[in-house]
Amino acid sequence: TTHVLLPLQNSSSFFSRAYFYSSCWFFPSICGLSLCPLVVFFITVLTTLPGTELRLPDTQIRFVKSALWYHGYGRPELYRLPSDGSAGSRELLLAFSWLLHRISLLEQLLARNRVRTGDETSVCMCEDDLSQSEKGTTEIAPEYGPEDRVDVRYLQWLSGRLRFQWRSLHAQHQEQCKLLHKIHLLTTGCHVDQILGHFSVTEMDLIRQPENYKQLVQLLELETMQLEAFLEWKQREPVYWQWMVMTQMNFKGCSLLKSNKENLPCSLFFPPPPSIQVKTRAEDLQKEDFAATVRKIQEAVELKLLDLSNLCAPKKNKMHGLCRLVRSVSKEPAPAVSATEVIRELQMREASLQRELKQLREECRQRLDEIAEGLDGVICISP
């Protein structure tokens, strides 16, 4: 029997089932992320009364297994759990706890579901990558039957429209910038929050039409409650972990494999920027200040390649997700991502993508040149 024991008697304890159900901890309507089903799942499992059978859809279990595999969970017992979720709540509890620690699950959820009151913009292009990779694989049902044939001019027309659309989007974005900037300028000095300094579009609209934003106020209050619940959890945290260790860790015959899974092989990290070996040639030693010159050159090159070594070094604190746009001329608001940084990264990414596109086109050119030789009676002169 593998049902979860909840040893804490205190009725107001975080882990009492009543609290689970009544707490708005994981309020589904706010959570837009795919991690949330994971948490909902765990809670469902953990709060199931012992003895009742959990009938969970197969997809949920598979989802959980995938998520855990993705983050490096290695307990085989979990992966052997039956797909209907009828057994294994202990394994799930172990996995849940591990995930809690491993990816700071709760903090991540809170951060990602933050109520948006400002002009939020994303500072990374991760979702873009994801959607692009999916796009290639999804096939949308074409509008015409299997006998119809596609005219290449139709494709050209569509792609021309797409190019036009890109340009219109650019224009729209630029206008958005203009408007945002205006509003930020206009409302400088008005916000209660000194760090922000000015209103966002949402807030300005809120001032005009407060009745439209009742839900926003509610969401803020809800979030405050969640944060308070989080703080309470932090208080009870020692108890939880101690309990986990004591009661849940009586593994039968646990194989004591190498215990340093936490450390990555050092070779995977880049060592500090390569110290450039000075290769001296015997005949050059004649020059007196050669060594000094060499050192200067060495330093200059290190500086030159600084961008590269920064790129390759593992980035510890890369910001992801949405950030609120704030205009700040005089000082840098304490922990914040600067537009300059983001712009630099984007420029590098753009250069990278341009290069990739150019290579693809070059490849096409070569292939098409070959094809051209096979065409009778036509000479192709490229632009």
């Binding site: 983050h71 000095g189 020692p238 983001v342």
Partner: protein, 536 residues
């Protein structure tokens, strides 16, 4: 025509991209409309300037939105008509060219350089063209494809789309003038008590002008009167308005040329009313009419409603507390113990995959941009060096690059090995991952650090230009992603058609050129196909 079954996926992908783009445009338009309404109403509070923006702003998006946004994946009848007209024009032009080329070989007028580049029409004309020797074909002729949509002819920039509306304010001007006593406030540049005449001209001439000055119009004056603003902010605003005043003076000059007779009256009024006040640092409180309430005063008086403010500050405090909340030592110790113990039970066959899929992805993301940067560096090194020192520097640089390259390659090999062993462990999990795992969650919880995770996420910018660059770059990266995806799809779908010669012989040239354009030139330039016949 392509053989049956070909190109459908590509058509679907293009249609999907168009649909997605149309949605984005709608969203953006909604947000823009909201912002514009806000600015208008804020300005309108004191019956100040840009009321005339009203109608224009309402009208403006429509031409943009309606053209090229629709979900139709077939050209509309109007577009077909325009296409027909363009085709006819093209045929005429080609006839002219043919006749000219018959008379003199070198006088190659380029009538075909119209943006009309409809493939079929051009080709028809070309095939009619009887032996033109290779030498004569102007290889440099670029038929600019532009956009396929005829509507794009008016494209250049959306701000110029407002140009036609330049005339509208003239129409509306008369009735606006009366109530707009204090219109002088808004568009006025620093310290000038000019009349609405200037305002109107500035408004009109603003339309095609730089957006920077455009925004300055409404904000500059108001900003000057910021009662509690800090010195630095004030200076910034001053310089802002100085810039705009000069810009506007130019614009007014330009506008003057552009106005027609009817505006002479307001022009003269503008001239008389406009006092040249070059010292634009006027907090010229006195010069403005007392009944105008500036937007800035209004702006500073703007206060968030009380319930929101309360909720907001409580929320802020809660975040701050959460951020500062430390994990207690007991908890941390117990957590560590738990994690260590559980990880001893993890199965990892040798070679030990120490990297989780999430970490592998992280590392790959880091490496993503390295090749392009490396090639930039390599290309920057000149082949020739004037001095020994330069040569040495070059050598050292290249050696450093080489070290980096080998490190990256080594890392890639390790990552590949890690991927393979992970896939071997749980092959079924790999397929599901795409749907379930957000890519933005860092693999190592400590990478963000709990302090960092719960901090207020802010993106700060310091200048308008930065903001514009940011948005432009983001869009550009997004567009490039799309282009690359479509390029790959097109390659897999269309190149085999050509390579296998599975098309009707007659349309070989047409097909070839279409595909060449699409794949090698991004649809913007066409190769010239010449029939390989010797002139008799």
């Amino acid at each position: 025509m392509l053989p049956a079954g070909c190109g459908r996926r590509l058509a679907a992908a293009l249609a999907a991209a168009l649909g997605g783009g149309a949605e984005r445009r709608r969203e953006l338009e909604q947000r823009a409309a909201r912002s514009r309404a806000l600015l208008r109403r804020t300005a309108g509070l004191c019956s100040v300037c840009p009321p005339r923006r009203d109608s224009q702003d309402d009208e403006e998006p429509k031409p943009e939105a309606s053209s090229g946004d629709g979900h139709e994946s077939r050209p509309s009848p109007k577009e077909l008509e325009e296409l027909e007209l363009l085709n006819r024009a093209l045929e005429k032009a080609l006839k002219v060219r043919k006749s000219i080329s018959k008379t003199s070989l070198e006088a190659q007028v380029a009538p075909a350089e119209k943006p009309a580049d409809e493939g079929p029409a051009f080709e028809n004309a070309q095939e009619q063209q009887v032996p033109v020797s290779v030498r004569d074909v102007p290889v440099t002729r670029e038929v600019r494809a532009g956009s396929k949509k005829p509507a794009s002819l008016k494209k250049p920039s959306p701000y110029q789309l407002r140009a036609p509306y330049r005339t509208d304010p003239d129409v509306k001007k008369p009735q606006r003038r009366a109530p707009a006593r204090c219109v002088s406030q808004g568009p006025r540049t620093a310290g000038k008590s000019s009349s609405k005449g200037v305002a109107s001209k500035q408004g009109r001439s603003h339309r095609p002008a730089n957006s920077a000055s455009d925004q300055g119009v409404c904000a500059a004056t108001e900003l000057q009167r910021a009662p509690g603003s800090s010195k630095s902010a004030l200076k910034e605003q001053q310089s802002f308005s100085i810039r705009d005043s000069s810009g506007e003076r130019n614009l007014v000059a330009a506008g003057r040329q552009l106005t027609d007779a009817g505006k002479k009256s307001c022009g003269s009024r503008g001239e008389s009313g406009r006092k040249e006040n070059p010292t634009a640092e006027g907090i010229s409180g006195g010069s403005t009419s007392p009944q105008t309430v500036t937007v800035q005063q209004q702006g500073c008086q703007l206060k968030l409603p009380h319930p929101y403010r309360k909720a907001y500050s409580r929320n802020c405090r809660a975040w701050e507390k959460s951020r500062l909340c430390q994990t207690s030592a007991d908890a941390a110790a117990a957590r560590k113990r738990f994690t260590e113990r559980i990880q001893t039970t993890f199965e990892f066959c040798s070679p030990t995959p120490a990297l989780s899929p999430a970490e592998i992805e992280e590392e790959l993301k880091v490496l993503q941009d390295v090749p392009s940067l490396l090639s930039q560096y390599v290309e920057a090194e000149p082949a020739d060096h004037p001095t020994l020192q330069r040569e040495y520097e070059s050598l050292v640089t290249l050696e450093g690059l080489q070290t980096t390259v080998s490190q990256c390659l080594h890392k890639l090999q390790l990552l590949q090995a890690a991927v393979e062993s992970q896939m071997r462990l749980h092959p079924d999990c790999a397929g599901d991952v795409g749907n379930c795992c957000p890519t933005c969650v860092p693999a190592r919880g400590r990478a963000c650090g709990s302090a960092g995770t719960l901090a207020v996420p802010l993106l700060w910018y310091s200048s308008f230009q930065e903001l514009r660059d940011l948005f432009a770059l983001k869009l550009q990266v997004s567009v490039l992603h799309q282009e690359i995806a479509l390029q790959k799809l097109t390659m897999t779908e269309l190149l085999p058609v050509l390579e296998s010669k599975a098309y009707p012989e007659a349309s070989a040239a047409q097909l070839y050129r279409a595909i060449y354009t699409q794949l090698c030139e991004g649809g913007e330039r066409f190769p010239v196909l010449v029939r390989d016949e010797l002139a008799d």
